[in-house]
């Protein structure tokens, strides 16, 4: 499959001191929703700005839609929604969308048609002809989405699109992302909101302090954590000890201060049927099984694990490394 974004070894040092990116390589397949995750200050926006020619990399090689980064004509086929954008207050939403269409080189009739369509799609049809100054944060974000889609882009790059949007709006934006993918566009999504990424992204990369620490499908990244869990009532059987871990927990429905009355038996084996023999044995002993399933790490667990220092388990402070070499 062709790569929509193929960057290797991108470095960015701000002002000679702030090392925002320290050799980042990212590959995004055409037609997928790619989640670019990382804590605040990891350098997500910096990478996106470099892709969009808004900032200049200290070191860079790579392509976007097959053209080298910085090739301006290619940007006619790219959409971009920056974080913290603010449109001029005196323009209406429609004027904003049409203006960016014109900057992308669209003919007047085409951009007018497309703007109307997109403003309907982001459900701003009633507000389209009012001034941006009267919009709420969520409405500005919707207009921004419309503006970034106006040139019918092959690749659309969104930097924290759900920032400041209420839960209903978030769900709508998520649906729009899925729709974009269904239309065959490639979506590059910067976010620190893991649940939304988990629901829409095919592949993710996790950026920590200017380095990509994990990249792949969520399945691939969480495969190592696959395990079989059985929850039973009462004490764990003695014979379980060599097979796996045990955690004591409260049975469902018990109050927070109740003593643990159930056990969770964790079988660290990747095959799903690995637990079947144990279930048979537990049932033969007459124990009540509350739950049995193959479980894998959530994206959040993966994220926390990626962000934390592997030896100390300490989650690193936000922001890039300042000065020095590390």
């Amino acid at each position: 499959m062709a790569l929509a974004v193929d960057l290797s070894d991108v470095e960015k040092t701000y002002g000679g001191r702030v090392r925002a990116l320290r050799g980042v390589s990212v590959q995004v397949n055409e037609g997928e929703v790619f989640g670019f995750l990382g804590p605040n200050g990891a350098g997500k926006s910096t990478l996106v700005k470099i892709m969009m020619t808004v900032a200049r990399a200290t070191k860079l090689s790579g392509t976007i839609l097959g053209a080298p980064v910085g090739h301006k004509p290619t940007l006619a086929r790219v959409g971009y929604l920056p974080e913290h954008h603010r449109f001029p207050k005196y323009l209406t939403g429609r004027q904003v969308v049409e203006f960016f269409g014109a900057l992308a080189g669209m003919e007047r009739a085409a951009r007018k048609r497309r703007a109307s369509h997109l403003l309907d799609m982001v459900r701003m049809e009633d507000w389209a002809d009012r001034k941006v100054g009267t919009y709420s944060k969520g409405m500005q974000q919707r207009v921004g989405l419309a503006a970034s889609l106006v040139n019918d882009p092959r690749l659309i790059v969104l930097d924290e699109p759900t920032d400041g949007v209420d839960p209903v709006g978030r769900r709508e934006i998520r649906d729009m992302l899925i729709q974009m993918r269904n239309e065959g566009r490639t979506v590059f999504l910067n976010s620190h909101l893991l649940s939304e990424v988990e629901q829409v992204c095919n592949r993710v990369a996790i950026l920590v302090q200017g380095r990509v620490v994990a990249q792949g499908t969520i399945d691939e990244l969480t495969a190592a954590s696959r395990r079989f869990e059985i929850a039973i009532e009462g004490e764990p059987p003695a014979w379980w000890e060599p097979l796996g871990r045990v955690t004591r927990e409260r049975a469902p429905g018990q109050g927070l201060d109740a003593a643990p009355s159930a056990s969770r038996l964790v079988l660290l084996r990747t095959e799903a049927n690995g637990g079947q023999a144990s279930i048979d044995r537990l049932r033969a002993e007459g124990r009540t099984i509350l739950f049995a399933a193959t479980v894998r790490e959530s994206l959040e667990d993966l994220f926390i694990r990626a962000v934390a220092d592997p030896t100390t388990g300490v989650v690193s402070a936000p922001g890039a490394t300042i000065g020095g070499v590390s």
């Binding site: 969009m52 200049r56 301006k72 971009y80 954008h85 005196y90 203006f99 960016f100 014109a102 992308a104």
Partner: protein, 363 residues
Amino acid sequence: MIQTMALFVAAYRELNARKLFWLSLGLSVVVVGIFGMFGIDQTGISVWPFGWSFDSPFFNSNVISPESFYKLMFMNLGVKAWLGLFATALALISTAGIIPDLVSAGSIDMMLAKPLSRARLFLTKYLTGLLFTALQVTVFALASFLVIGLRGRVWEPSLFLAVPYVVVIYSYLYCVCALVGLLTRSTIAALIVTAIFWLLLLGVHSGESLINYGTIASSLEVSAIEAELAKAQADADEDPETVAELTEELASQRSSDATWHSVHWWVFAAKTVLPKAIESLNMLERQLVVDARLRGGLGADAEARDETGGEIFGHGRVERAKFIEALRADENSRGVWWVLVTSLVFEGVVLSIATVLFCRRDF
């Protein structure tokens, strides 16, 4: 082309949102309207529609034709005071924000991520600033054209020469305004620095003029002493003491002349580097005088001024007529090339610096 148009339209909307633009456009028309209210007849000046009239032995249509009267007003009040000062200030105030708003507003990222080069984006924004100034001056020139035509009964299309001149003069200031606006992202800072720069230009201009007068007068004095000395030496009857005195005086005058010249050299160098706003405005004036015969029957004023006697910079020997002749010659030696080209070179350099900075900046 689509992109450039879009930027122009965006700039129009921006200026439109800032009421100041309309205010200064309106003021331009009001100023010309006030010109039109004054009428001149055989007895003196009248003010329409109030019916006031002031009898005057100098300002009446027997002395000055209505045509000259309006042209005089256009030149002295309209071009020098209004366009050269107030309208330029208003234009600066209404367009100073264009570049700072471009680089600080939250949509610069999205504009940079479009398929148009940064240099083009920046220079187009710069041009929009000039374009709107041009619009203001055009409205002013048009209104003046109508007033002079309707009231003075003469149609003078060369008044529109004011448009390119004033825009060029404005651009000397606006390039500095754009550079500072880009660096500081602040409209206020851009305005303050531009105002200081403007004062600096005025200061250098006045200083240079004054020093130039002094230098010319001093040179003339040297030649006068030389001539006197030569005459004294040739005359056998002359007291040798007078010759010695003259020789000494010549030596001291020569050394002070050398000082004048070296000081003038530096000031002149500074002036050559800087844009020449006042000279450019004077050039417009001269052009209008030639093309539109703006002085009309008033050519006598120059001679009238020459009649006042007295010393020139303390040099008793220099004849006023010669001094003025030398000044004229000096003024003419500073041709269009020196005034416009060196100014435009300055503007080009400032603009290139600003463009390069804009192209290299991270947003």
